[in-house]
Symmetry: C2
Subunit: 437 residues, 2 copies
């Protein structure tokens, strides 16, 4: 008998774990305050007992907004090396979470290497992997088969798994009755829906939810309750299907907590800007303040090639109004599998959104780097500016590509630089420009 099975159980029992200490220090938060939040479920610290390389992070109210990078092997992209490059880049950028969405071939080998090296928490969607792992077609898979994939991931050291347990018959009924433009755009959700419709069975993750929780509890895997009915276009945002599923997820959240299983709740999706704050509020209420993990929201549908930006806008607003964890979106969204550069653009956009929101929320220490950057700009200290930039390399490359005539400026304004002019006047110097001509 272990002293505790999950971080939540430890928190409830008042047992201090190394993970709690690490998170409290990172967040500059009082350990007891953190434990209170973990005991109530407001904060999750996904940390599978088998993931020994993990540098644990907390996700939830009052903490820094975390970001997640998606990657993995798929039928159209079997390049293991390239996916590993994405992993290295993500770790270099300090992302807190990587979801391995592999759904093709030797997913196990990739996952094993990933977990071995990753200091970031690892998430998966066992449903994606089911067909490949079981080597069966969808219709041949049994409910217990699905659970066996969850167990395999749990044993391998995955810190959180997305499970679309909320897409039960009640939620499907709401979705079907109301109708919607894009139907189901969640990949895992669509597979589950197909399986339910073809077999006539209830959602296996819902039907055998207690069994799922037992598996997760054993290895301290956090359940990330997936939103199969997340809106896939503005028009479907905040509709009956989405909210009906959220109600189910709220109930499943309490059932998980009752077994000490930590919970994340996943959210939209595509959504007009003016609906985002309301959605965060409703989610927190319906799901009893569980940490909210959002994809996007994408604030317009007409910008394929730039959905890292549409989702940075939505993500920043979401995080500022309650979301705790942002899933990155790359420029390749809706168009193709992201390449390494897309991943970089996606990471930075997502980090900007999370950071801007942390400043707005008043998270402790969030403004420190910004204040330092302002000081460096005031002094025109380029090396310091590069060091403080989210993407140090790109900042330097840009600057060096068009070197200014005078290093105390940049090529944008040259000697007309406002900072230079004002500094000179405030230092009592005379300003001249004609020498430039």
């Amino acid at each position: 008998m272990r002293e505790y099975y999950t971080q939540m159980e430890a928190a409830k029992k008042g047992i201090v774990t190394p993970q709690m200490k690490a998170v409290a220090e990172k967040e500059q938060m009082d350990l007891r305050e953190l434990m209170g939040k973990m005991a109530s479920g407001e904060v999750a610290v996904p940390s599978n007992i088998h993931h020994t390389s993990l540098s644990p992070e907390g996700v939830g109210a009052g903490l820094r907004t975390k970001i997640n990078v998606n990657l993995g092997i798929s039928g159209d992209s079997k390049d293991y090396e390239r996916e590993m490059k994405k992993v290295d880049m993500a770790l270099d950028f300090g992302v807190e979470s990587i979801m391995d969405l592999s759904n093709y071939g030797k997913t196990h080998d990739f996952r094993e290497k990933l977990i071995e090296k990753s200091t970031a928490m690892i998430g998966t969607v066992p449903m994606y992997d089911a067909i490949g792992y079981l080597d069966k077609d969808l219709l041949e898979i049994s409910a217990q088969d699905f659970l066996s994939v969850v167990e395999a991931h749990a044993r391998e050291g995955v810190d959180f798994v997305t499970i679309h347990a909320g897409l039960n018959r009640r939620a499907v009924e709401s979705f079907r009755r109301e109708g919607r433009k894009m139907n189901i755009v969640s990949r895992g959700g669509s597979l589950l829906f197909a399986w339910m419709e073809m077999t006539g069975n209830e959602n296996p993750f819902f039907e055998y939810y207690d069994q799922v929780l037992e598996i997760l509890r054993e290895h301290d895997v956090t359940i990330s309750l997936g939103d199969a009915l997340r809106p896939g276009c503005l028009e479907d945002g905040s509709d009956a299907g989405q909210i009906a599923e959220l109600i189910e997820i709220g109930d499943l959240t309490r059932r998980a907590w009752a077994k000490d299983v930590q919970v994340l709740v996943e959210g939209p999706g595509h959504m007009a800007m003016d609906e985002i704050a309301a959605n965060m509020k409703i989610q927190k209420r319906l799901c009893h303040n569980a940490p909210f993990y959002v994809l996007g929201p994408l604030v317009t549908d007409i910008a394929p090639g730039y959905d890292h930006i549409t989702s940075a806008i939505g993500g920043a607003i979401a995080a500022a109004s309650g979301a705790d964890f942002l899933c990155y979106v790359t420029p390749a969204e809706h168009l193709r599998l992201p390449d390494v550069n897309d991943v970089r653009e996606g990471i930075v956009a997502s980090r900007i959104a999370a950071h801007a929101a942390d400043i707005a929320k008043g998270i402790k220490g969030a403004r420190t780097a910004d204040d330092k950057m302002a000081a460096a700009r005031h002094k025109m200290d380029w090396e310091e500016m590069f060091a403080l930039a989210i993407d140090k390399e790109k900042a330097r490359e840009y600057f060096e590509s068009t070197p200014p005539a005078d290093r105390h400026t940049c090529s944008m304004c040259g000697k007309m630089c406002a900072v230079r002019t004002t500094n000179m006047i405030l230092e009592g110097k005379k300003v001249e420009f004609c020498s430039e001509r």
Copy 2:
């Protein structure tokens, strides 16, 4: 004696102009409603009487959010051809405004060509051009010299000019008393500040404001009241200097309207997300509902190389809460002069922000394209998706770069495509995946 000098005068007199008709049609707005907004100053229709190629646009409350592109010749970048390429690209993307910020050499020739070809409205900052135009150093320039540059631009057909008339002694006193981290980051503002400090004179645009207004009225040039004290870092956001200048600008707004000169008011700058809505509210109040033209706001200081994204976040929030006109920011901001690709990235980011805000504000017709995109995605009609995309070329390039095995999907999910799976089930088909392996 002309029947009317400015669009505002015509609106006040109830005279319908071709510009009003064009704008009412573009905005799907009742002509009388539009004229009421123009008469009160709530909407400006910048349209210099000499700019004959202009396709006029309205800027202000209840209208679509407009975007502006900055470009021009400078000491570190004298490539006329490249700047013209930026112009062509901006016009292709349908931007409503181009600011020519040229400050070096033959600015007149470039401006002349630009005004001749541009259907977009043209703005300038006469202060930038003063040193080059007058061929004098800053200290040698007299107050009347500055006014002569304004008149030259007005005669050439510039639709709106940025004039930092609000940076008077009162505003400077507020700024100096309070102190701030980045001081003055407005280029025109810093030049003016330097001139004021070196000569000991009051701001010439403030001192001779009535004369400025006479010039502008004569050619129907809209005054864009520049914010010399816009914050240059988060820490300076919403400070005494910024707001003190805004109070001056509010007064100057009324004085301009009294002479029938149309007004835009320029705004921040760098600013934490949670301050943006308040700033829009205060500006509209202090400036009597004049149209608000914002640069950014940039919601974090630590993302050089990605300030098109930091400003898309801020711009979207600003526009959703009252801003009417967004100045684009490119990835090159703070680092170098933007190249053609930076301009493209800047335009699209800014358009996304404006469009997302229009959806949030409920601007008529704003969601139409999004709804069409959703329909195209539902049908997996790639050609239609490309046609509806803000950047059609990039969307196509991305898709075609990694063609999926099955054209009814993309390479992101391949046959695991959620849309395809759900469509098949809802059409009563059986879904199989094993053939993919």
